[in-house]
Amino acid sequence: MKKIINDPNQVVQDMIEGMIAAYPNELKQISGTTAITRSEAPVQGKVGLVSGGGSGHEPAHAGYVGKGMLDAAVLGEVFTSPTPDQIYEAIKAVDGGNGVFLIIKNYTGDVLNFEMAMELAEADGIQVDKVIVNDDVAVEDSSFTIGRRGIAGTVLVHKIVGAKAEHGATLEEVKTVAEKAAGNIRSIGMALTPCTVPAAGKPSFQLAEDEMEIGIGIHGEAGIERKPITTADEIASELTEKILADMNLNNNEEVAIMVNGLGATPEMELYIINKKVNQLLTEKGIQIYKTFVGEYMTALEMTGCSVTLLKLDDELKELLNAKSEAPAFRN
């Protein structure tokens, strides 16, 4: 293992301190926890938004804390859900009196831990609701999940729900738009090389030099198929087709595209993928309203990418375009 770290067991704490040092006016750490909030939290009268999950997916989720997006992110150990006590502290810290909304990626551990925190907060009289994002069309069940996994599409749910809450929506209205966004999002990923969890010290799986895996998860969980690597156009086509097969998109409907790097993919290659995704959708008469290319939800230093499509309506377009001051999502 070759990594720029001090101690494998301190990576999350060290990263948090580095983030706070980079954004001292925007972010703060809740003392005694690995949760990060906006510096102005709690915002009175606004529904508080909390997300989080295992670390190793940076900039998710702490990079999305800021005006227009999340109020707090709770950081677990690498690829491990944060615990309920930490999530509970984050909920309390962002409760501005109008309730708190949780955005959870669909992994068994995340769902259990966030739901337990929700129960603890409710026992304190805080109104809490949630959405579970499961945008990955690759596999139904996996080593980390019952049902589909939540991957990069979650970032667009943060964006949309964040804008809604910032506009002063009630907890119920926030939930409605969150469910609409989550229901309209589909993603799928692929990888060329694995990643190494610092505490484990060795890669969690192996791929041969000429091999790729389609449908892989953001923790290296098994996908659909391993096969010899092909061209970017063929990869983009396969990913796009798998998404469209699962999505009801009619002629002239509008979408947002996200081409996301998994940690070690050159931006050049992400744009090459995007070129083909764009071309395929255009050929099908699907309108591309907005495109995001970059690293939004990574898997440490995995090489590979994911493609996400979000079906839009007028409300979602407006929310997607709204201002965001989160460090990793300036809009």
């Binding site: 150990e77 309920p84 006590d85 551990g109 129960e119 996996s142 019952i146």
Partner: protein, 206 residues
């Protein structure tokens, strides 16, 4: 049976001893059908529970159980943390204001604990989870006028062994589906140790 603060702490200590002794065994069970960390996580969590409850003075069983719940949920991690945490938290809430805990109160606490596990894990009986041990033990308490210590342990043990025959449909083991047959569920095994410890405490008090 009757449970006082000291008995409850003893129950937790004995549970911890058994989990520490069987740490590698629990991890091996999890290796077969999970992600091979159950023994490590449970031993870390229960050790913390014992450290916590021995370092404080308690007036009520409910408070001991509440601290147990909070410690398990923060220290065990994974799926087991919130599941065992929920069980002890619900138990604690149900027996709040009752001291010592009578058999009747204990039974009600157990019922709520099981309901919490089922709700949190969205699992039913017959899905190869800890529910398959908790459920028959709760049934035993509900159907018995005077609890016999040995019967508590036997009920739990039999139930744990029966999880071998079940195909997993919940939890991480469901990923291994048919492969899970023939293996005891790790959460069922650690639940057994907790009930075996309970039976020893009941026996000890006569």
């Amino acid at each position: 049976m009757e449970l006082q603060v000291e008995d409850t702490i003893q129950w937790l200590e004995k549970s911890n001893e058994k989990i520490q002794q069987n740490k590698d065994y629990l991890t091996a069970l999890d290796q077969a059908i999970g992600d091979s960390d159950h023994g490590i996580n449970m031993s870390r969590g229960f050790q913390e529970v014992v450290n916590q409850v021995k370092s404080k003075q308690y007036d009520t069983v409910s408070d001991v159980l509440k601290d147990t719940a909070m410690t398990l949920m923060s220290k065990v991690g994974g799926a087991s943390g919130p599941l065992f945490g929920t069980a002890f938290l619900r138990f604690s809430m149900r027996v709040k204001g009752i001291d010592p805990i009578s058999q009747d109160a204990f039974t009600k606490g157990m019922e709520d604990a099981l309901a919490g596990i089922i709700q949190r894990g969205k699992a039913a009986t017959g899905e190869k989870t800890m529910v398959d041990v908790w459920s028959p033990v709760v049934d035993y308490f509900k159907g018995t006028t005077i609890v016999q210590a040995d019967e508590v342990a036997q009920t739990a043990k039999k139930a744990m062994e029966q999880t071998k025959e079940i195909t997993a449909t919940k939890g991480r083991a469901s990923y291994f589906k048919e492969k899970s047959i023939g293996h005891i569920d790790p959460g069922a095994a650690s639940s057994f140790y907790i009930f075996e410890a309970l039976s020893e405490v009941i026996k000890g008090e006569g």
